[in-house]
């Protein structure tokens, strides 16, 4: 498993496509962070002009800015996750040779999916530099230092990592069943987009069906984490999804033998 994990990480991160992925990610997350920060500062300025301390107190940096940026990161991962997942199982010749040379299906699946999860964690880890830099060098509108809540920040990062990992593993299942990586990436993106937007359609459905639809959507399981609340139900949901995707990849690879 370790050999496959290391190889996939090498190909995903230490390669021209890896450099492109990191560049796109860094640029997008930096730009989104800057946009949200500017909007937050403008809101603070307006609250100061009103001269009402209660309005200013409502503008919590951690609650507003971190949650909004994390939400944006999840949307970016909705696009990148399918590409990473499809890349994991995209090479047909290597995949067949792995079936021959790897000690077990489990080693292939865990190595590849593990690499996908590590890549998402690395991407999200890079973005932690932004709040860290702000807490060290930033200044509030009244000259005070910016207080970044480390627990809330890390919990938001964990939530984004879990959501991104879920996107990658779902795409990996689709790619493991497919011979065309690009079609697999597109198909899994559409599937994930529908799943993400499902809660919006819940109001149109009967209540019992609406509950199921809301539960199935990953969007329903990121809200607590982004607000800094640890929910074991959500952790279990993401853990189950990743486990089920692992089993799905195993079944797809075994099916390729027949």
């Amino acid at each position: 498993m370790r050999a496959i994990l290391v190889r996939e990480l090498r190909l995903l991160l230490w390669s021209p496509s890896g450099a492109l992925l990191l560049s796109v990610w860094t640029f997008l997350t930096g730009a989104l962070f800057l946009l949200e920060l500017t909007a937050f500062e403008q809101a603070e300025q307006r609250a100061l002009q009103l001269g009402d301390p209660s309005v200013l107190a409502l503008l919590d940096f951690n609650d507003l800015l971190l949650a909004a940026v994390s939400q944006h990161l999840i949307v970016v991962l909705l696009f990148l996750g399918p590409l990473i997942g499809a890349r994991l199982f995209g090479d047909g010749a290597s995949r067949e040779w792995l079936l021959h040379a790897a000690p077990s299906l489990r080693a292939i699946v865990m190595g590849k999916l593990g690499a996908g999860v590590v890549v998402v964690a690395v991407l999200v880890g890079c973005t932690l530099a932004l709040p860290l830099f702000l807490s060290v060098a930033g200044q509030g509108t009244q000259g005070e230092g910016v207080v970044v809540d480390p627990a809330q920040t890390l919990l938001a990062a964990l939530t984004v990592t879990l959501a991104g990992s879920a996107f990658v593993v779902v795409a990996a299942v689709v790619a493991a069943r497919s011979q065309a990586p690009l079609a697999a990436a597109l198909g899994s993106f559409l599937l994930l987009l529908v799943l993400w937007l499902l809660p919006g359609a819940a109001g149109l459905l009967p209540p019992e069906l609406a509950d199921v639809v809301v539960f199935v959507s990953p969007a329903s399981h990121v809200e607590n984490g982004l607000r800094g609340l640890l929910s074991f139900g959500d952790l279990l949901w993401f853990g189950s999804l990743i486990g089920a995707a692992g089993a799905g990849c195993g079944v797809a690879l075994d099916g390729a033998r027949r």
Binding site: R2, V6, R7, L11, A93, S94, E96, L98, H100, R257
Partner: protein, 238 residues
């Protein structure tokens, strides 16, 4: 000499098209078996079944692993078999050395430097596999198979893209592995190539095994094979 791989009654198809029909095949220790057949005869499908990456629709493949009988797709059998597919299983984004190190780590054995030297890959070890010529990629694919001390080597069209010097070097290397006790299945659609290297010969035609015997019987098998369609055509026109 005992059989290390015994395939009985192999049959397989793809999307309703029959690829193999009732194929029997035995590989002996310390023996090179030439596997002859035209393109599309079913050689690669047979190889993939023996390598454990394809489970046949019917029939069975038993591999003798240290006296134990194992199915071809079992982990023990796959560990004792090394397969070099026709399309080399190398990733274009990895260097030659990285690719071989990966194969070594996966199989848990082998000496990368030895195999690089044996296949004269030193000048290209740092180059990406995607930037190599077809013949060099082929040699890297073969190097992956020769990396381990597997008791069975399955080489699917190993000389495709190689120049005569490289073919000769590969032949010597494989003869040495044979003398060390390996059972080697060498597929090709060129009869002269098989005749030069094989101890045993089997001929596959349209998914059926039409001949399996010692090298001396190859000419007779080929005559029968070529006469077969001509005779059938003559019969049909009469």
């Amino acid at each position: 000499m005992s059989n290390v791989v015994t395939a009985r009654g192999l049959g397989h198809g793809f999307g309703g098209e029959v690829a193999l029909v009732d194929v029997d095949l035995c590989l002996r220790r310390a023996c090179i078996t030439g596997f002859l057949g035209k393109n599309g005869a079913g050689k690669s499908t047979t190889m993939r079944i023996l390598a454990g990456v394809l489970i046949p629709a019917c029939g069975s493949v038993i591999v003798d692993v240290d006296g134990r009988s194992c199915r071809a797709h079992s982990a023990a059998a796959r560990k004792s078999i090394a397969w070099a597919p026709e399309e080399p299983a190398v990733h274009p984004g990895l260097s030659v050395r990285e690719q071989l190190r990966f194969a070594q780590a996966l199989r848990g054995e082998g000496d990368v430097d030895d195999v690089i030297a044996a296949l004269h890959l030193e000048p290209v070890v740092a180059r990406l596999c995607g930037a190599l010529s077809k013949g060099t990629r082929q040699r890297v694919g073969i190097a992956q198979a020769l990396l381990t001390r597997a008791q069975v080597l399955l080489l699917d069209e190993p000389t495709a893209g190689l120049d005569p010097t490289e073919v000769e070097a590969l032949r010597k290397l494989l003869l040495r592995r044979r003398d060390e006790g390996a059972a080697i299945l060498w597929s090709s659609h060129v009869a002269a190539e098989i005749e030069a290297v094989a101890d045993d010969v089997c001929v596959l035609h349209r998914g059926r095994m039409v001949h399996h015997g010692e090298r001396a019987t190859l000419a007779q098998a080929l005559t029968a094979l070529h006469a077969g369609p001509a005779a059938k055509k003559a019969e049909a026109t009469s």
